[in-house]
């Protein structure tokens, strides 16, 4: 009575499955048909016995006890994926019931929605609170007026490419995610379709510059982003940005926070790209289940990255005096450099004759 049922193909931890998919793609591309090694396939192996026989098909034999319509089962739950055979080439359609859709829909409609609101909301609120608490982090020593080159033209170009494309990706992505609730009531269906149509184009085409930019950043900045002991120090002092902190932990070109952003952007961005591109070619490598997983990964990472980047933007603009110059003009004020990237500053600053004694690091921060 039970129909063909199979365990959901993508049961288990989504990310694990996602990795498995990636692996299988690789194998599929490179490895020869694994079956080639099985058996010698020789048709000369000798005569095969024809094998007749008989079957009594119980499932189609009347049940004499069934007498009343009330006994008829109408709603038979099919919890698992049900897969059969279709004669048409589209093998996706061989799936009769796809229960994963349920989970996915829950994710899409509730999970992603609330995660996005939650994570992004918490981030924004957190930043706001932080701003209220800490205010703008000033260059404690004030501006020195001396500019120290920090990012080359190419680095800035890559960054801004990434930045712009990311923002457009995020906004367009958010339009697709939230537009139905946020925009349709405002602008109506037709206008929103037009908007999201554009959003989709923009989203689909912004991905590529984004990928190139982060690949570039990966190449030029990777050496500065290898975790080191200094990061530990920086982390212990929470980056020295808490209110009243005057102590600026020892850092290299990038501090641990920035390294975090870098890796988040690079790794997250690549994951976004992979999943994104796979969504651009639906079903090229996997079925509905796999597509759902890509979508989930893409959506969640999008939320996470958006939150991270919001924080990043905050620090790069409002949150810290002098930071924007690094990406804006490519140069930073010497004092800013000293305060925030001392280790790096040491390698960059003009040679000095005299080096003043170093204040030993104090556990207690004296009030200003």
């Amino acid at each position: 009575m039970t129909p063909t049922t199979r365990r959901p193909r993508w049961a288990g931890f989504p990310i694990a499955a996602f990795v498995a998919v990636l692996m299988s793609v690789a194998v599929g591309l490179g490895a020869p048909d694994a079956r080639a090694q099985v058996g010698d396939g020789s048709p000369e192996a000798g005569p095969v016995e024809t094998e007749p026989g008989g079957l009594t098909l119980k499932s189609r034999t009347p049940d004499p006890n069934l007498t009343s319509p009330d006994q008829v089962e109408l709603y038979v739950p099919h919890d698992d994926q049900v897969v059969g055979r279709v004669s048409i080439p589209d093998q996706k359609l061989a799936t009769l019931v796809q229960p994963e859709g349920r989970t996915w829909r829950a994710f899409r409609m509730e999970g992603l929605f609330w995660t996005a609101i939650g994570v992004i909301g918490v981030t924004v609120l957190g930043l706001a609170a932080f701003f209220l608490y800490r205010g703008r982090i000033r260059i404690s020593a004030g501006r020195s007026g001396t500019w120290i080159p920090r990012f080359s033209f190419w680095e800035r170009l890559a960054h801004w490419t990434a930045a712009l494309s990311f923002i457009s990706l995020a906004i367009t992505g958010l339009i697709v995610t939230f537009g139905r609730y946020a925009l349709i009531p405002l602008i109506g269906h037709d206008a929103f379709t037009a908007t999201s149509e554009v959003a989709k184009y923009v989203h689909n085409f912004s991905g590529t510059p984004f990928v190139f930019a982060i690949l570039f950043m990966l190449v030029v900045w990777i050496k500065d982003n290898i975790p080191s002991r200094a990061d530990w120090d920086w982390l212990r002092h929470a980056g020295g940005v808490l209110k009243g902190a005057s102590y600026h932990p020892e850092t290299e070109r990038f501090n641990a926070g920035q390294k975090g952003i870098f890796w988040a952007v690079v790794l997250g961005g690549l994951a976004m790209s992979v999943t994104g591109y796979l969504m651009l070619a639906p079903f090229a490598v996997t079925g509905v289940g796999g597509m759902q997983i890509f979508h989930v990964v893409h959506g969640l990472l999008a939320v996470l990255l958006t939150a991270i980047i919001i924080a990043h933007i905050y620090i790069g603009t409002l949150g810290m005096e002098g930071a924007f110059d690094a990406m804006g003009r490519g140069e930073v004020d010497e004092n800013w450099a000293k305060e925030h990237h001392r280790g790096w500053y040491e390698t960059k600053r003009p040679p000095r004759v005299y080096q003043p004694p170093r204040t030993p690091p104090g556990e207690v921060s004296p009030a200003e």
Partner: protein
Amino acid sequence: TEAKADALVATEEKQLKKGICTHCSVGCTVVGEIQNGVWVQQEPGWDSPISQGTHCAKGASVRELTKGERRVKYPLKLVDGEWQRISWDQAIEEVGDRLLRIRSELGPDSVFWLGSAKFSNETAYLLRKFAAFWGTNNVDHQARICHSTTVAGVANTWGYGAMTNSYNDIQNSKCLVIIGGNPAEAHPVAMQHMLRGKERNRAPFIVIDPRFTRTAAHATEYVRIRPGTDIPVVWGILWHIFENGWEDKQYIAQRVFGMDEVRAEVAKWTPDVVEEVSGAPAEQLRLVAEQMAKNRPSTLIWCMGATQKTVGTANVRAFSILQLALGNIGVQGGGANIYRGHCNVQGATDMGLDVTSLPSYYGLTEGAWKHWSRVWDVSYDAMMDRFGLADMPREEKKKLMELKGIPTTRWFDGVLAEDDELDQPNQIRGMVVLGHGGNTVTRMPDMLKGMEKLDTLVVIDPHPTTFAAVRQRRNGTYILPSCTQFETDGSRVCSNRSIQWSQKFVEPIFESKDDYTILYKLAVKLGFAEDLFKHIKVEGERPLPEDITREINRGALSTGYTGSSPERLKLHMVYQHTFDRITMQATSGPLKGEYYGLPWPCWGYPEWRHPGSPVLYDTSKHVMEGGGTFRARFGVERDGQTLLAEGSFSRGSEIEDGYPEFTMAVLKKLGWDRDLTPGELAVIQQIGGPDIDKVSWDTDLSLGIMRVAIKHGCLPYGNAKARAVAWNLPDPVPIHREPIYTSRPDLVSKYPAIENRRDFRLPHLNRGVQEAAVQADVRTKFPFVYTSGRLVEYEGGGEETRSNRWLAELQQTMFVELNNRDADELGVADGDWVWVSGPEEGRAKVKALVTERVGRGVIFMPFHFSGFWQGEDLRSAYPAGTDPHVLGEPANGITTYGYDPVTFMQETKVTLCRVERA
């Protein structure tokens, strides 16, 4: 939904047309909505008692036939390998000249006329008549490769070569046995009635087939057998029936001749022997026997798994005998429900489009020719003169006139044969094909050789068939665009003998013409149009189908076509809704009491309003209510035993016992000749000349003898016993014979193929080929049993259906079904390419469909494909845009030698092959 908006173009007038699906013998009604000559929509034909609005994929797609862009639209001629458009006049001139040249040089028998089961009765009849006027019996159609063995088998058993009951009547069955048929794919709408029967009666549903088919999926009992062992299986079932005394003893005593000889043969087939030979589990066959015996009436359904065999006729005979033993023939819910093939294979067979007969099974005897000469109003001598070479003596001509022609299964042997192999003046050099595919006969490699050697090939078809795409030919080939049945009108007979009149939906597209017109034009060119259409009105160039029907009604007495008329048939289509959906009898309206489509025999003149015969040989009804008895065709006694029924007769018969068929002599003996009117007597005298006693009911064109017999409640064809022993057949009692290429060579010595013989103008070498195969140990090199058959979406050679994008989309690759374990052993996965090679040179590259449908050691291939040849994709050989959507290897590239001795039916269902990874 209050204001109903119609889906059609609002401003234009809408016409509703009713026609019949052109694909299979179920005969589903197609309703077309036509606007401005365009078939815009297809609606369900709710009123049809047969299909009740339903279709299968093919029927649901027929609108495409008039709209698809891949049809032949203009007459074409092959010039140095390139198709050139020519005008109709040029085409007819050139074709005619070429045929006339062959005729004068080599004789009329050197042209082979191949007709179709897809066109109307009227076309089939006209083509048969046409061939007679051309002067040959080399005229055939698909029934040869389809149900010829059924016709031979059942006609030799009880009289008529037809399905006894109807699809609808299966709803009355208490037990359904399907052997060698897969109606779920081949007759899907019949499954409607079968499943209803199964459900209503909680009837056992038994499928006996080497494959677990879509039909088997609905079975309660599925018996898997080794292909080609049906006789052992049926004898095995009968063994249990006799063993347990389940047979209907009274029925046998009254209505069956020679059952004891069958008992003797059956006794040899003990359960263990049956299991050893066929693989059918002994216990299961006992169960099948018991279910059949205890749930009567049980119906037996068969199709190509039984007929397309070197033992086809014997199979059919065995099945018939099983039903006779159980008393299931001539009763509602019982019967031999033989599912015919094409949409008009029954009708075309009835019309004698066949190498062995004139219309209505009169045969080729002098009497038959004289009868039809009278109907055609031409002199017998003039007809005879048309045969043979001009300078032949009369006797030679007469001999050819009465000699069975070369059948379509072997036309290429007629091309390739040496002079001394052939019983006709010369080899075949010209071939005219109307509505027949080229990839559907076995031994395609040989077929291609024959094709190459033909001087002239004319294809008259709505689609460019495989014949037209053969690369071996570069000249001397013509395609004349015929239209489909939706662009002309006429009647067609479905499996249950109901005759349905199909309307013209739209005008023939482009320059296509209907077959009537084409045959007329050709007849004019060939010089016998005047005689051919003597009593058929020709409007412009189009002979009126109604007039052809009337001629059929006049001449086809033996099958009782006399009672139907175009008017009656058309009325049936109009009043479809008044017929009961199980009995098929009209319950109200002007046709009250008649059976749908006047299933033949429908006696007398139309004015008699005979209702048609829903169930053949049904003694529970009066002859005027469609009742019947077994037909007395084989004399009155044999070996001192009577062949006439004993104590059994149809209701209301004044003779309460068996009686022979009615002739003047019989009438006189009964004193009933007094009932003849002077007018009738005059006709009889004219026909009989000096010896009027010999005038029989079926040659009496006055219908007087028939009328008198029926007046006394008797069947004009007599009341006899069915024959369990048919002494005129090679195997009077069916015996098992191993397939030519058998997977059990060890059984050959015990069950050898039939001895070499000659027939149909050719040698017949089953025994020789089988012995050679055993000696060469073919079985070791070709370890798989090969069988072939149908897919629901495609039809026949597939040229129409593979060009139909709605259907083609559903089956895009040719495949071979391969059992999971065999596939594992070969290292083949589902979807892999494999080579399938046959023992006689052919091979095919196809995709493996790994499945449990087939048992181990058996493979199955659908035969609807072409366009690949021995591994090569010929798509590029088609002119751009003309290739059917889907191409694939023809299954008949692999099939091998083997013919039924009675009809030369081809063996498509059992041979050997090898499967290798490609």
